[in-house]
Amino acid sequence: MNKPVKYYFAIFFLILSANVSSQILITHPDNSISQLSKKTMRSIFAMRTPHWPNGLPIQVFVLDDQAPIHISFCKHLLGMFPYQLRRVWDRQVFSGTGIAPITVKTEQEMINRVATTQGAIGYIMPENMTSSIKSIGEL
């Protein structure tokens, strides 16, 4: 393979990987969980799983329904649409049968809240990963 062709391939793969790179789940560094199934993620973000296996309450943080990161997170990691989660939360909040997650305004606020809240879970773009939080993979 000559040089220019290799170069084009490299660019092609970069574009491809940029397209598939989706949000990552993050949690408080003390959380011993490092993988979650899609089913458990859905249940947690629907506010239907109140505790981690060790009994610690789960604290869910999300971005606004219209935030591109939230839309992409719902579609790619949960396989749902933002309006479906909103409906689940609304039904719980306005019938008293459950609660809604805490909405944060920015990705930085998400990182700060997750890093300082025991039992917290949220999501960010992979390039913003820092040592103050721990990532959770998909099982």
């Binding site: 859905r42 239907r48 329904d65 396989g79 479906q84 306005f94 019938s95």
Partner: protein, 398 residues
């Protein structure tokens, strides 16, 4: 204050602050407060729905506020106050919509089991629990063929106990609810089922039974649900009722709703059907003969043009007696208009989510029949069979 004392003072404050702020965040994190407000405008070509709509009515206002607080890891308390002004149905006097203790009994890998105690909303169909919250409804009004506003309070909630359980299956989740409680009848129920507001009162002396099985496939891409409610309310007559030949009796109501919904990225398709058996016993011979099986259904297609704009089209049918859909037997027996026994309608509407808090709606309804109208707001013999309705609403939630 000398220098040393000032230092101590600041050290004490500094030591105390993290504790204070921790206590505050933990209290805030454990308590949530939400609310809603909505105002509609309704105009009808003929007949009245939610006020004097023939001349334009603003008599549809909803206000609510709720709080939920986690008392311990297994115990949560939640309550909502509601004010609803709805034409002749409701004057807006505030009431406790729900007030319940949620006891989370068991958490296991496949789900959870718990119990609600107190005043609990009935999970009937897909929308009954939050039917008064504009943002969560399908339109400006709940589908009248399923969620009749003229008798809403009877099936809205109950004072009692409800058991809940979630069970996770390979491709979906099963949700089960079973409840036992006293329903809350009001004068609208008496008007709708007994035909007039008599001197006596409807009393909820017997426990109503509720059961719901709901399955969400693939994170809610498909939802299937079946709900059944059976209840019995007593009519306790007054001496003045004797003039009309009315005495004590009971009203038995069985209500079943089946629902299906598809939730796609752009399309949402919903179908619901409701069967109700109303069986008056005693009261009077006239009322006893009114025993009927109602049938109602609603089919809706909703399309998301953008994340903020949606449009929908809905067809509804409601028959007070499914064995006399066109009302001819009723007309022959009671000399009342046959059109009061059915309602067939089409609705088109739009929704604009201005921002996460504000939402505006516009709708056009076209009706044939009067069955969804209440005698509280209309004089049946002079009501018009074919009528249209235009409605607008502006709603806020937080």
């Amino acid at each position: 204050m000398n220098r040393l004392n000032t230092q101590y003072f600041f050290i004490i404050i500094a030591l105390y602050l993290p504790g204070l702020s921790y206590a505050e965040t933990s209290w805030l994190d454990k308590t949530q407060i939400h609310g809603f407000a909505s105002q509609a405008f309704i105009a009808t070509t003929d007949n009245n729905f939610f006020g004097d709509s023939e001349h334009g009515s603003f008599e549809f206002t909803e206000l609510g506020i709720n709080a939920s607080t986690q008392l311990s890891s297994k115990l949560r308390f939640s309550a909502q106050a509601l004010s609803r002004r709805a034409g002749g149905f409701d004057d807006g006097s505030p009431r406790i919509d729900f007030a319940l203790l949620d006891i989370n009994l068991i958490n296991y890998e496949q789900g959870q089991i718990g119990v609600y105690l107190g005043r609990i909303k009935n999970p009937i169909g897909l929308y009954n629990e939050t039917r008064d919250v504009a943002h969560t409804r399908q339109g400006i009004f709940a589908a009248q063929s399923i969620y009749f506003d003229k008798v809403r309070d009877l099936i809205l909630s109950a004072d009692g106990i409800q058991l809940y359980g979630d069970y996770s299956l390979p491709n979906g989740t099963l949700f089960l609810r079973g409840g036992l409680g006293y329903s809350i009848p009001d004068d609208n129920v008496e008007q709708a089922y007994l035909g007039a507001n008599f001197a006596g009162k409807l009393e909820s002396n017997k426990l109503a039974l509720l059961g719901q099985i709901l399955y969400e496939h693939d994170g809610g891409r498909w939802i299937f649900s079946a709900t059944g409610v059976t209840l019995e309310i007593d009519y306790e007559s007054q001496p003045a009722d004797a003039l009309f030949g009315i005495s004590d009796g009971t009203l038995k109501v069985d209500y079943t709703v089946l629902s299906t919904q598809y939730n796609g990225e752009k399309w949402q398709l919903t179908g619901e059907v409701a069967f109700e058996n109303i069986n008056p016993q005693g009261i009077s011979e006239f009322h006893q003969a009114l025993n009927s099986n109602t049938l109602g259904y609603s089919l809706e297609a909703n399309y998301r043009l953008t994340s903020k704009l949606q449009g929908f089209i809905r067809q509804e049918r409601f028959y007070i007696d499914k064995d006399d859909k066109n009302g001819s037997q009723y007309n022959a027996t009671y000399l009342q208009p046959a059109s009061s026994r059915y309602s067939k309608s089409w609705v088109i509407g739009g929704r604009w989510d201005i921002n996460p808090n504000w939402m505006a709606r516009v709708e056009y309804h076209s009706f044939k029949g009067l069955a969804i109208l209440s005698p509280v707001e209309n004089t049946t013999p002079t009501a018009k069979e074919n009528w249209d309705m235009f409605a607008l609403s502006l709603s806020y939630r937080f």
